[in-house]
Amino acid sequence: MKGLIELLRVPSLLTIQDAGRKGYRKLGVPVSGFMDDYSARIANYLVGNPGNAPLLEFLLAGPVVRFNASAVFAVVGDVEVRLNGAPIDPWTSHWAKRGDVLEVGTLRSGLYGYIAFAGGIKCEKLLGSCSAYPRAKLGRPLKAGDRLSLGYALLTGREGRYLPKELRPDYSGNEREIRVVLGPNLEHFSEEGIETFLSETYTVTPESDRMGYRLDGPAIEHSSLGADIVTEPLLPGAVQVPANGKPIVMMRDAQTTGGYAKIAAVVSADLHLLAQSRPGAKVRFKAVEVEEAQKLLRKREKTIEAIRAFLEEKMRAYKVKVSGKEFTAFAGKVK
């Protein structure tokens, strides 16, 4: 069978994800999809796929995979990768032939890694998406012995694409600044509470998963209106604060509505940074206006687009030094 790959070992949560489910949130179906869309899209571009193609997302430790047919793949993450026992580079597309065994190690930094295959993983779309949401039996976590088929793709020319280190997102370091747009339930918080949220440091706790990240730190004070609201829509990035004052940041598998007051929402351009923060990581929140947040996202989209063009060799990347600081500049034409 063409494009068949077999999972030999699955040490931790491994799921198929794509860009997520759209249009079903009013029926209570979460959006799901890539926890780190930045890395996942680059993984897809490395093997010549559209950015939203279904791929493998692993939590912390990657799987061991056997190829039962030729394929082109890329592993994305700060991780050791071996093909038939020999070390190979992550952030690079490689050719695998029938019988080859790919071993993906444990991430040195970050929390989620990705394995993309040229053609994408073939899967049954449920409600328009392949993203696993096991709570509603929309897909399931993968296990050893599972076999995956790949979509058809011409493999020639798709291997050997490489993203230089300076263009990769950096998830090392234990402290991050995460930007947020305040609201929409600010009236449920005291002025001191908002001040606490914006000035103190919060720690990601082990009670964090694809649904939400629970943070620990100084309690955020509510106003006399209290922590409970009449249930409202809830989106990934929303920062809910229940009565104990400890914030919970909703992630991709968040339920679509919620009854705790929301002090803020993480900006779309930064949500992947939080997603990649391990338990123990320190987070500080900085407020920006909604217009600024949208500018940041558009800038980020341009960067991802430039990276895609670079990987498809429509652009070249140069290192530029400006007053002692090094930047990466792209030259060429996108589209």
């Binding site: 029926l27 209570g28 409600l127 009449v230 409202e232 809830l234 989106l235 509505t257 949208q294 558009r298």
Partner: protein, 230 residues
Amino acid sequence: MKPELKPAGDSALLVSFGETIDEEVNEKVHALAKRLEQARFEWLVEVVPAYSSLAVIYDPTLVGFEEVKRAVEGIRVTSERFEGRLIEIPVVYGSSYGPDIEFVANYNGLSVDDIIEIHSKPVYRVYFLGFLPGFAYLGGMDERIATPRLEKPRLKVPAGSVGIAGKQTGIYPLESPGGWRLIGRTPLRLFNPAKEPPTLLQPGDRVKFVPIEESEFREIYLEEWGEGVD
């Protein structure tokens, strides 16, 4: 009443008619949701209604907050009625299907038959769906049968279980952990991803519970799920 429009992050605008649980306000929410969907704005991703609020989710690479705000402000929904369908939901009350029904009866100083009668009498309103795929927030339960949640939630509640939590009643669309007092179970499938739409209930629908016998439950269950119960 003029709603408040505010950002919920950089990809959604929250329309809020005030924090209230009110049928007329909820009708406005659904009417506005429908109008927005019909307007086919290219930047509109989807809308998510709740009791008295609506999230307008948009693509911020295509449009800014102010433009979305103006577009929403331009939609008039003042006197519109949103009339949902009436869905009958068959329920076996009591026994192993509703293990907490005696507790609910004792707690409220009523008999089990009273609970069944009071619970199956009203026409409930689906204010919105949330919490789990296909889970309907129903309004209209008689407060005489209100009962607090379990102190220790069950690890596994079967799909279709009908429960009471405080002044609310609801149906578990999926097998999941849960702390509601279970009074019965429906054989209908509230969430089926193979169907379009995947949920039995839609926002704005009206619901009537119809008591049935265990034999009927088994028949309908087999039809709905393609397999026998348990």
